[in-house]
């Protein structure tokens, strides 16, 4: 119960148990995404009202058990043990009932009111499974609901079970499970040593079985409670006991089998791979099919993105006229520029970005929900494991050839934070659509027929860059001790729950808007201040002055002050690099945030570039902007997905630095050739 008398429900379930669908269905847009205190795991909370009561829902991370192998598992069980929730809703997948009831058996022994939701009962029915929920409820002593979450209107059974569990404080009956545990001699010994000790709502049984399983935090806690003599006794039992976790697991599944034996009737059905599964898991065709699926998904995600992009760019194009109008009514140019050139344009970028985030989250959220993402993970597991990543990471990488921000948004389907951040960090090295619009043109201009060679070298450097970045960041983000081979369920294909998915995507898009606008506005304001001049002559700005002053240094990296300023500006958007060069070389007007991101350029830009930039410098410049930070919006998306200002800054600075190093190498190789 919260201070405001709201009832707190915790949702507990394995991955693919339909937990997120239920959460979205219950809470709609009333959700809040944050971080668990001191951890990098995403914390999702929402609320809903039923009858005259208000409920708070905590969506716990999806884990397979309540052991202490990962941050997600520790957060989940500590939250339950903390007593912050009034009732725990345990989800199991009816179509894979025995396996997914493991969570219930692992929870057994924690004395918190709870009820069991047997989700996807429609799928189970199609399988010819007949589940007697009433009988299971009698055996377990808690409400058991057969459930499939097609639409919000059918949540009545859920509410009813919830109210019963809260009113009667229904606690799981564990006596038959403990009976099974007692067949393990070491368990009985540990149980005796522990005696009457309880830790909050965690009973002696739960503590004893976790100790037997070799659970380090629980063992430490228990030892701290017992006297020296008993601790020594406990240690000697544990030394004797081998593979406690396997023995405990056998008991749990024996209990589950007993539970379902009378209550579930099923026809034996031979399962195998369906047609599409045979194709996507094919040794030769699998990878091409995955790549095609992702590219198709990317294409489709542009459809919902287009209206946003239209609105966004319309807002952006209003900036100049509005600026004129403000100046006309006597508004100081500084204020007018800040309002129109900075804030309005930032707003325009973010709106355009939202369209893409919306499209990518929707399409790839759909692929995840349907079950295709798990297959993609399988197909690319071996390739991506070399970087310390999941197979799913191939999806953000491919999207990043189009747009890095979309790639970052796509990492949502990666359930491990470290792997998510590493995927984003690597995807920055992939030249995005904006780079592809600039690079071939510049390469052709300076190197003519050698253009394909330059492109090929860029692609090779990209792979080396990703490999090096994985080496540098990998250890910190994905600890080698936590790297483990694939153990993953390939869920049966599910029909998407559109309502729940839309609610989720809308909530996510709203969240992205506020976070991203903050980042984009701050970065754009800094750039704008650096390039602002009261005289209107670009050469008077701080950016240009500093650029000119440090030219001796930047020349080592192969950049004159003009190309260096353009390089810095390309951090905001790569198309802008040409716009900035155009402004500088043609000597017209001042640099605005607008010109930094749009490719408005002088008609004779080509001649200007050829006249002012040597071949080695051009090569350096090409590498510098290709491997620079993709754009501010990608930076904002990175912050939005990682929830970490620290890692966003590290990745940003790392890319600025490595782009300069690459430019330096390119320049000095160029000097040897020409």
């Amino acid at each position: 119960m919260t201070e405001k008398n709201e009832i707190v429900i915790a949702l507990l379930g394995q991955p693919n148990s339909g937990k997120s669908t239920l959460f979205n269905g219950l809470t709609g847009l009333r959700q809040h995404v944050g971080n668990w205190p001191g951890k990098t795991v995403e914390k999702k909370e929402g609320s809903f009202t039923h009858g005259d009561k208000k409920y708070i829902v905590a969506d716990l991370p999806g884990t397979y058990s309540l052991s202490a192998n990962s941050d997600e598992e520790i957060i989940t069980r500590d939250y339950i043990a903390s007593g912050k929730s009034d009732v725990v809703c345990i989800l199991a997948d009816s179509s894979q009932l025995e396996r997914s009831l493991y969570m219930l058996s692992d929870f057994a022994g924690i004395e918190v009111p709870c009820f069991l939701l047997l989700n996807m009962s429609d799928v189970a029915k199609d399988q010819g499974k007949d589940i007697n929920a009433k009988e299971m409820s009698d055996k377990l002593g808690i409400p058991v609901v057969l459930f499939s979450a097609p639409d919000v209107k059918k949540y009545d059974a859920f509410y009813e079970a919830l109210e019963t569990a809260v009113a009667n404080k229904t606690v799981l009956n564990t006596s038959s499970l403990e009976q099974k545990y007692k067949d393990i001699p070491e368990y009985s010994e540990i149980r005796n040593i522990i005696g009457d000790y309880k830790d909050g709502n965690r009973t002696g049984m739960w503590l004893a079985i976790k100790t037997l399983e070799g659970d380090l935090p629980v063992t430490a806690k228990v030892k701290a409670e017992l006297g020296n003599e008993k601790t020594a006794e406990l240690s000697s039992v544990l030394d004797r006991c081998e593979k406690g976790i396997v023995k405990a697991g056998e008991c749990k599944f024996a209990w589950i089998d007993e539970l379902t034996a009378g209550s579930v009737k099923k026809e034996k059905k031979a399962a195998g791979l369906g047609k599409f599964d045979r194709l996507i898991t094919h040794r030769i065709w699998g990878k091409p099919v995955v790549v095609l699926t992702i590219l198709l998904g990317l294409l489709v995600s542009f459809i919902p993105a287009l209206p946003f992009m239209g609105i966004g760019s319309a807002i952006g194009s209003a900036a100049s006229p509005l600026n004129e109008a403000l100046l006309g009514i006597g508004c100081p140019s500084f204020i007018a520029a800040l309002l129109c050139d900075v804030l309005l344009r930032c707003f325009s970028f973010v709106i355009q970005m939202l369209g893409f985030v919306f499209g990518v989250t929707l399409v790839f959220g759909l692929l995840e929900e349907v079950g295709i993402m798990a297959r993609i993970s399988y197909v690319f597991d071996n390739t991506m494991a070399k970087f310390g990543l999941q197979g799913k990471s191939v999806m953000p990488f491919l999207i990043s050839f189009g747009c890095t921000m979309g790639g970052a948004a796509g990492t949502r389907v990666i359930d491990n934070w470290g792997q998510k951040v590493l995927t984003i960090a690597l995807s920055w090295a992939i030249p995005c659509g904006a780079a592809w619009a600039v690079i071939p043109m510049l390469s052709t201009l300076f190197f003519g027929a050698w253009m394909p060679v330059i492109i090929a070298v860029i692609l090779i450097v990209m792979i080396l860059h990703m490999w090096l970045t994985a080496m540098l960041f990998g250890k910190a983000l994905v600890k080698p001790s936590e790297r483990c081979g694939m153990i993953m369920e390939l869920p049966p294909y599910h029909k998407p729950k559109w309502g729940s998915l839309f609610r989720f995507v809308l909530g996510r898009t709203k969240d992205t808007f506020f976070r991203s606008f903050k980042v984009v506005a701050i970065v754009a304001t800094v750039f704008w201040l650096l390039s602002f001049t009261s005289s209107g002559v670009a050469g008077d700005s701080i950016l240009f002055k500093v650029g000119q002053a440090i030219e001796p240094v930047t020349m080592f990296f192969g950049m004159k002050w003009q190309t260096f300023v353009a390089f810095i500006a390309s951090s905001l958007g790569k198309e802008g690099a040409l716009g900035v060069l155009s402004t500088i070389f043609s000597g017209t007007g001042s640099i605005t945030v607008g010109s930094m991101v749009s490719a408005e350029k002088a008609d004779n830009l080509n001649e200007l570039l050829l006249a002012n930039i040597t071949k080695p410098e051009a090569l350096a410049f090409i590498f510098a902007i290709t491997f620079n930070m993709p754009c501010i919006v990608a930076l904002a998306a990175t912050y939005q997905e990682t929830h970490s200002a620290k890692w966003t800054a590290i990745i940003g600075l790392y890319y600025t630095f490595t782009a300069m190093v690459l430019a330096c190498i390119a320049y000095h190789i160029g000097l040897l050739i020409w």
């Binding site: 397979y64 058990s65 052991s67 192998n69 179509s95 894979q96 009932l97 025995e98 396996r99 493991y102 692992d106 399988q127 399983e213 070799g214 593979k243 976790i245 396997v246 405990a248 697991g249 056998e250 599944f253 399962a271 195998g272 791979l273 898991t281 040794r283 798990a374 993970s377 399988y378 197909v379 597991d381 071996n382 483990c484 081979g485 694939m486 153990i487 993953m488 369920e489 390939l490 869920p491 049966p492």
Partner: protein
């Protein structure tokens, strides 16, 4: 006695033991692969995770680590 990773496509077995470090054994237990459990190999390609069917679930397992799991061959 055979290693799970040695079973060919469509062969069935009953898990007799699960070995490896505590972390691995914990994870494999929580996904339902415990001694006594019946498994059928759906796909066993080189350089790809192994796909098995156990407890009504299709599960992909790292190939190398699956040699930690021993099975008793079973007739269908």
């Amino acid at each position: 006695m055979k290693k799970l990773s040695e079973l060919k496509k469509d062969e069935e077995g009953i898990i007799s033991s699960v070995n490896g470090d505590a972390r691995y054994v914990g994870r494999i237990t929580s996904i339902g692969i415990t001694p006594g459990c019946r498994v059928r190999v759906i796909k066993n390609d080189k350089n790809r995770p192994l796909i098995v069917y156990a407890r009504d679930t299709m599960i992909a397992l790292n190939h190398k680590e699956s040699s930690n799991i021993e099975v008793e061959e079973a007739r269908r």
